[in-house]
Amino acid sequence: MIESTRFGEYGGCFVPETLMAALEELEEGFRTIVPGPAFQEEMDYYLHEYAGRKTPLTFCRNLSRDLGCRVYLKREDLLHSGAHKLNNALGQALLAKCMGKRRIIAETGAGQHGVATAIAGAALGMNVEVYMGEEDIARQALNVARMRMLGANVLPVRSGSRTLKDAINEALRDWVANVHDTHYLIGSVVGPHPFPTLVRDFQTVIGRETRAQVLEKEGRLPDAIVACVGGGSNAIGMFTPFLGDPTRLFGAEAGGEGPGGRHGATLCRGRPGVLHGTYTYLIQDAFGQILESHSISAGLDYPGVGPEHSYLMDKGRVTYREVTDDEAIDSFLYLSRTEGIIPALESAHAVSLARNIAQDLGKDDILIVNLSGRGDKDVSQVAALAGDCL
C-alpha cells in the first residue's frame, strides 16, 4: 500500500484497483532506480548530448528596455523537439525501459507531448502509441505527421469531447488492460501518485539550471518568475528550486474568452474535486461533472491542473492569474517582433503576465519568464487569427 501521496490535501491515487499494482511498481522504480548512479549517468547523456541541455538563460536587451526591468527568458524553446516536454518524456521512457516495459502509451492534446514521447521512444528503441482526440488530430496535422515519421502509432480518440481530457481517459483504459508490459507516460504533473512527483522531478532541471545561471550572471536571486500553467509541468519544474527563496512566483492560466466566457483557468475559477486519479482544482458543474475547458492554446486547454499547484495556491506561495486568448496572441506577436523569438502560444501566456508584472518592478529588478516552447506549431493558427494585424 502506498503511503504519503499528497501535497497538503491535494493529490492521491484515485484509480481503479486494477491499476494499483502498476502504480506501486512505478513508485518502487521511481524510488530505487532513478536516484541510482547508472540511471543518472544515462539521463545526463540524453539530456546534455542528445536533447541539447543546458538551455540558455537569455538576457533580453530589447524586452528589458521596453518593460523597464531586467528580463531573462529560460530557453526551453531551444530544447530538441521545441519544448520542455522532452525532459519528462526522456526520463520516464528511460525509467520504463529499466523497469522492463516494452511498450509506451501517451496522451497528447496539441501533439507536443506526443512528439516528445515519440522522440524518446525512437531514441530508446521502444514502441510508442499516442492517444489523441479526433478534434485535436484535425487541428494539429503537423504534429500528427511528426509523430508518425518518428515511428509512433497515433490512435484517434472518439469518446467524450474528443480532446485531451478524453485522450487521458483512453490512455488510462489502455493501461488497465495492459498493465503488465506497458508504461503510461503521462505528459504533465497530473494523474495519480506518483506521476505528479515523478514528472516534477524530471522537469526540475529547468529551475536548477535557471537558479545557477541567474546567480552566475547577476550574483543574486530573481525578484519574480513567470510560467504558464495548463497541467503545470514547466511551471513546477521552474518553481521547485525557488520555493524556499524570497522570489515571487507567478503562474499564467488560460483565461480564454475572458470574464464570463469559456476558459481553462482551473485554479482561478475552479473548485477542488477528483479527475484522472488526483484531487485538485477542476472545472466542473455543481454535481461534479467535468466541463469542457477552452483555450486558444491546446497545451493549456485542460479542465484540471497538477495537484501541487492547488497546494501552492492555497498556501499562498504562488500567485495564479488569467491571461485571455487575445492577450496571448498580442504577446505572441510582441515577443516575436521585440526579440525575434516566436513563442509557443502557451508560453505567450507567460509573456503576457510578465508584461503586467513588470509594471510593478524597478529597473534593477530581475524578471524571469520560462519560455516553455517555441511557436512554429502555432504559426498558421496565429496567422489565420491575427490576419489583419500581420
Binding site: M1, G12, P16, E17, L19, A21, R173, V179, Q289, I290
Partner: protein, 264 residues
C-alpha cells in the same frame, strides 16, 4: 448496517444475478421503468450506475449510456429520487456504482446519508482503491450502507487482506484486465483470484466486467463465486433501442430472464 445484501447472499440457493443499469438512461422516467423491469424479470441485486463525465473504468457501451443519461440531465439528486421511487415498491437489494467526484461534490457524509434514506444498500466507487477508501468506508458505515470494494487479479495478497477487512456487502471482483464490456471468455486469472479470496474471507465474491454468457457464469460459480454482475450486455439492449421504450423494456426483461434461467 444494511441487511438486504447480506440476507440475499446468505439465503441464496444458486449464484445471484447482479443486474446493472445506468441511472437516467435513456432518460429519468424510462430509467425507472427499466429498473422495475429488471426487478420483475428476476434480478437478485440491482446495480445502478451514477454517471460521471469521465468514466475511466468503462468501455464503449457503458460510456455511451452514461453520455445519454448526462445529456438527459441526470445528477445525484435525481439518482436519489429514482432509488426512492423504486424502493417504495420493491425490497430487492440495490447498489450504487459511481466514481469519486460525484460523491466528493455532494459531500461524503451527505451522499451516503441520502443514499441510505433513499433506500440504497451498498455503494461502490470505481476509482477509489484501498489507499483512498478510508473516508468513503467510514461515511458508508455511519450511514448504514455497505461499502462495496473492488478486488482484481493484480491485487496482492497483502492488499487483499486489507480490502476484505474494510469491505461490506460483497467483494466486486474485476473479472478482466481492462474496462467494462461484453467479452464472453472465462479468465483463468479470475478463477484463481476467486479461490484466493475464498481462502481468506467469508464475504460473498461477485465477478463483474465482461460477463454475459452462461458458460462464464458456470465457470465462475464452480470456482466459488457467489454471483455474477452483468452490465454492458443489459445496457446494450437499452442503447440499441433508444426512442422505442416499449421494445426496450421487452428486450431488457428478456435478457435478464435468460440470464437468470442460465444460472443454476
Amino acid at each position: 448496517m444494511s441487511t438486504r445484501i447480506g440476507s440475499a447472499f446468505s439465503a441464496r440457493t444458486r449464484p445471484l444475478l447482479v443486474a446493472c443499469l445506468v441511472a437516467g438512461d435513456p432518460d429519468l422516467g424510462e430509467s425507472l421503468a427499466m429498473i422495475r423491469e429488471v426487478d420483475r424479470a428476476g434480478a437478485d441485486v440491482i446495480e445502478v450506475v451514477m454517471p460521471f463525465s469521465d468514466p475511466v473504468a468503462d468501455g464503449p457501451v457503458m460510456q455511451q449510456a452514461i453520455q445519454r443519461a448526462l445529456s438527459a440531465g441526470m445528477n445525484t439528486d435525481s439518482l436519489f429520487s429514482l432509488i426512492r421511487d423504486f424502493r417504495a415498491e420493491s425490497e430487492t437489494p440495490l447498489v450504487i456504482l459511481t466514481y469519486a467526484n460525484p460523491v466528493v461534490q455532494k459531500g461524503l457524509g451527505a451522499f451516503y446519508r441520502d443514499a441510505a434514506r433513499a433506500g440504497a444498500d451498498g455503494v461502490a466507487v470505481a476509482d477509489v482503491p484501498l489507499e483512498e477508501t478510508e473516508p468513503f468506508c467510514k461515511a458508508a458505515r455511519d450511514a448504514g450502507i455497505d461499502p462495496i470494494l473492488f478486488v482484481s487479479q493484480t491485487t496482492s495478497d497483502k492488499r487483499l487482506e486489507m480490502i476484505v477487512e474494510r469491505a461490506g456487502g460483497f467483494l466486486y471482483l474485476v473479472a478482466a484486465l481492462g474496462v467494462t464490456g461484453v467479452r464472453g471468455e472465462v479468465d483463468p486469472a479470475t478463477i484463481e483470484c476467486i479461490r484466493r479470496i475464498k481462502g481468506i474471507s467469508s464475504l460473498p465474491v461477485v465477478p463483474g466486467f465482461g460477463i454475459s454468457s452462461s458458460h462464464q457464469v458456470q465457470a465462475y460459480s464452480q470456482a466459488g463465486a457467489d454471483g455474477v454482475i452483468v452490465g454492458s450486455a443489459i445496457v446494450k439492449e437499452v442503447g440499441d433501442r433508444v426512442g422505442r421504450p416499449g421494445e426496450m423494456r421487452i428486450a431488457v426483461g428478456e435478457m435478464v430472464r435468460a440470464l437468470v434461467a442460465d444460472i443454476v
